[in-house]
Amino acid sequence: MTTIFFQQILNGVIQGCIYALIALGLSLVFGILEIANFAHGEFYMIGAFMALFSITFLGVPFFIAMIIAMIGMAFVATVIERVVFRPIVGKPLINSMLLSFGLSTALANLALYFFKADPRKITSGLASYRFSFLGLYITGERIAILVLSVFLVLLLAWFIQYTRTGKAMRAVAQDRTAAQLAGINIRRIYSVTFAISGALAAAAGTMVGAMFFVNPEMGFTVVLKSFVIVTLGGFGKIKGVIFAAILIGLVESLGGGFISYAYKDAYPFLLLILLFILKPEGLAGGK
């Protein structure tokens, strides 16, 4: 019983780290462009396919495939920002909600048309290495995913805190007009933000594609869960979002292991509803 419990905790933390990658991108876009991007799940899905095809057709190793997917998706996300979202920056939120929802449906169906619905798996070549300690099992693949996702989250936090572009991103998020008056090119900041958000989603998609499956519909529930995470963690709060992501990973994993796996996708939303009732100010408190 306790072994199952700790095994589920471990799985939950890994899942949570992946959620953090997805939710942080969503949160950045929301904070800086004031856009709710419901197509973010498709960034994750397309990223996963990019990695899958890199391995299948180019024969590159898992890590290289992930980097190709990240770069490719950063580029695609930048183009989407420029063409689809740029015209509605500064307009009420309903614009971006409708637009991105349409984009999400379009991208998922295009993927369905071209890639077909059968679930495919990304082979990392690391799944066969199995380690056990204290009765817990972990594969080399999951260790790699845990390390990579933690590394990427820390890299993002460092980038935003210390680099010139990162500081400019915070400035735009806090006061867009003041940022323009200071000579910050906000259009460039928008591009960078979407590039980062796309790259992180692609990394997450690659990891999930290795642990589970890649298919054209994989983005739908993930984007909703990410909105739950961003709501729980507080908009624009990096630490809050990471914390909420791991919490959601744990809730899913423990709920799936001990209550019923069939409702795995429902637990995050139940948690959100519960929190709205019990702690309406959000986990981190304040605004």
């Binding site: 007009t177 323009q180 000579g183």
Partner: protein, 235 residues
């Protein structure tokens, strides 16, 4: 002419904010814009900064037309603005606010020099450089906002209501700083509701009413003008 604005018209949605405004500022002068709330003073500044796109009219700054330039290009040309309400980034430190003010500057050495100058102009900012800007008092935030605008190394500095909500002793200090900035060779456009103060340090002044220039001239003459005295000075 260093700054020459001709027949500038601008809208917020359908509302006309500026109606054929023309003005000039010679190099090294202090020019004041006075007028009531909603007269178009801030809209005028936002047009000059490229944040609000004018519907028609031209702006010529230092020999270049800038009415359709991007805000960051305008800052690089040497025109920077300290906006109304300070608008410092509250969750960034004082130092980060200043660094971002010099976003258009590529050489670290120049940024360092300007930082030195900002700290010598406002020693309190040096003491508080590691504090979040949101934790500063109103007066300190105003100093930070002015210092941030100076970090871009402007040839022309626009100040929008720098005295708003400040204690009289701080207002004195801010006015001293504005004189220092001009003495160092920077042209200043000063928007103020406190018309007496604005007119006493300016060379020229323009009076705006509902988006139009209704009066302009030497600041010393406007101070003696009966309409101005009645409407804006309360005398």
């Amino acid at each position: 002419m260093f700054l020459k604005v001709d027949n500038l018209t601008a809208h917020y949605g359908r509302v006309k904010a500026l109606d054929n405004v023309s003005m000039e500022a010679p190099k090294g002068s202090i020019v004041s814009l006075i007028g009531a709330n909603g007269a178009g003073k801030s809209s005028f500044m936002m047009c000059l900064s490229g944040v609000l796109r004018p519907t028609s009219g031209t702006i010529e700054f230092d020999g270049q037309r800038i009415e359709s330039a991007w805000p960051e290009q305008i800052v690089s040309l040497g025109l920077s603005q300290c906006p109304e309400g300070r608008r410092v980034w509250p969750k960034m430190t004082v130092l980060e606010n200043l660094e971002m003010g010099a976003f258009s500057v590529r050489e670290p050495r120049v940024v360092g020099e300007r930082l030195e100058r900002a700290f010598s102009l406002f020693p309190i900012l040096k003491e508080r450089q590691w504090q979040l800007a949101g934790s500063l008092s109103g007066g300190e935030q105003q100093m930070l906002a002015i210092a941030r605008a100076l970090m871009a190394g402007p040839k022309l500095l626009m100040l929008d209501e720098p005295s708003l909500g400040l204690a009289p002793i701080i207002v004195e200090k801010v006015m001293e700083v504005i004189k220092d900035i001009r003495a160092a060779g920077t042209t200043v456009i000063l928007v103020e509701q406190n018309a007496f103060m604005a007119l006493s340090i300016a060379d020229h002044a323009y009076v705006l009413e509902t988006g139009k220039v209704v009066l302009s001239g030497k600041a010393s003459e406007l101070l003696q003008n009966d309409d101005v005295r009645k409407s804006y000075l309360g005398i």
